[in-house]
Amino acid sequence: MPKYVSPELYHKFKHHVLEMSPAIQYYVGTVAQRDSSSLSDQEIADRLGLDVDDVTESCIAEVDLLPADAWLKSANWKRERARNFFEKGRLRGKR
């Protein structure tokens, strides 16, 4: 059932939860390693001794811990990347 995570609990566990969540994905070959990251909310809750809903709500860290201008910068980054690709002439064919 959705709820608001308490600020105390959030600040205590936000980094742990984020690093254990699928926000960080590690693969050996092409097989996902789920020892310390890419865990489900329930798996994180079990390991940290938390309520699963508190873990779920701690997903706000994925937005909260980024710099405020990350989205603005991303738009500019994409504009630049696309422009560079065509300026470098990496697209062959005239059609």
Binding site: S21, P22, A32, S40, W71, S74, A75, A82
Partner: protein, 296 residues
């Protein structure tokens, strides 16, 4: 209620008929995964039979994400505004779910529940992998295949036991040219493009390891969407200068965020790691056609 006999279509197995139905409705490729295969990798709570009790198979529909011309625009926004398959993929899955229920009498679903936070209720990438539609790439473990490049996916979960296709035998990534580049410069086009999100190594012509950091990726792939909107709200609410607050809330970026949310077009807004991917470049090429110049 009396059981009704299934109307057979001559020469086609039920799995073939279901695939044919998906193709007729607009999928470029259809694969079937067994729930048992998916459950070997998916954690409890994120399995097909957590969504549909007794689920046995997942039918996965893949399509060209965009018309190929979308990759030939220097305006990066053209790409995601042309994401055509995502607009129809849910309808294909729903049609096939109803087809299976009416023709074969097995419970089926055409949509999976929405994600909680950023985490999906069921990984469509995993389902597609187990259905033999593609393999994981160095680019954020996105699924690729040689025919479509980047895959756009939807799925139908059903209690009907069907012959599964199983995973592909050979990995699609890395492309031979990436192996060559790695041997010379220890990099690949995707790693060069997005070092903030991607890292990894090749060894013996295969991916040795890779790491994907979704945090920065989400600000690009969902550049104007719910995350950006939540962030803009917090930023504006805590901004002490009223003129700056106005600049944040009335500016073109916030307007773009709202437009994307209102129009439901906030996913798949970045493909920069795949723009220079040789697998994708080959898949994007259109075949040469001979036109009669007098009838153009």
């Amino acid at each position: 209620m009396t059981a009704q006999p299934v109307q057979e279509t001559k020469g086609l197995t039920p799995a073939q008929q279901i695939k044919q139905r998906g193709m007729q409705k607009g999928a470029d490729q259809v694969g079937i995964a067994s729930v048992a295969d998916i459950n070997r990798y998916a954690p409890p709570g994120h399995r097909p039979d957590d969504i549909l009790i007794g689920a046995k198979s997942v039918i996965v529909f893949a399509g060209h994400t965009t018309p190929q011309g979308a990759w030939r625009s220097p305006d990066y926004r053209t790409h995601y505004h042309n994401r055509a398959f995502p607009r129809i993929r849910g309808g294909i899955a729903m049609d096939v779910a109803k087809f299976i229920e009416s023709k074969y009498g097995y419970y089926s679903l055409g949509h999976i529940p929405p994600p909680v936070g950023f985490n999906p209720s069921l990984s469509l990438k995993l389902c597609a992998e187990m259905a033999g539609l593609g393999t994981r790439s160095m680019a954020a473990a996105i699924l690729l295949n040689h025919q479509l490049g980047l895959l756009s996916l939807s799925a139908c979960v059903t209690t009907m036991p069907l012959a599964a296709d199983g995973p592909m035998k050979e990995p699609v990534c890395p492309h031979p040219s990436c192996v060559k580049l790695w041997e010379q410069k220890k990099t690949t086009p995707c790693l060069q493009t997005c070092p903030e999100c991607l890292s990894g190594e090749l060894e013996g012509g295969r991916i040795k390891w890779m790491r994907y950091d979704r945090r920065i990726c989400s600000t690009r792939a969902q550049n104007v969407g719910p995350g950006a909107w939540q962030n803009v709200l917090v930023e504006a609410a805590t901004e002490p200068d009223p003129d700056m607050r106005k600049s944040i809330l009335l500016g073109s970026f916030t307007r773009g965020v709202l437009e994307a949310i209102a129009l439901g077009g906030f996913t798949g807004q970045c493909g920069e790691c795949l723009r220079g991917c040789p697998v994708c470049i080959e898949a994007r090429k259109l075949p040469d056609k001979i036109l009669d110049p007098d009838r153009v």
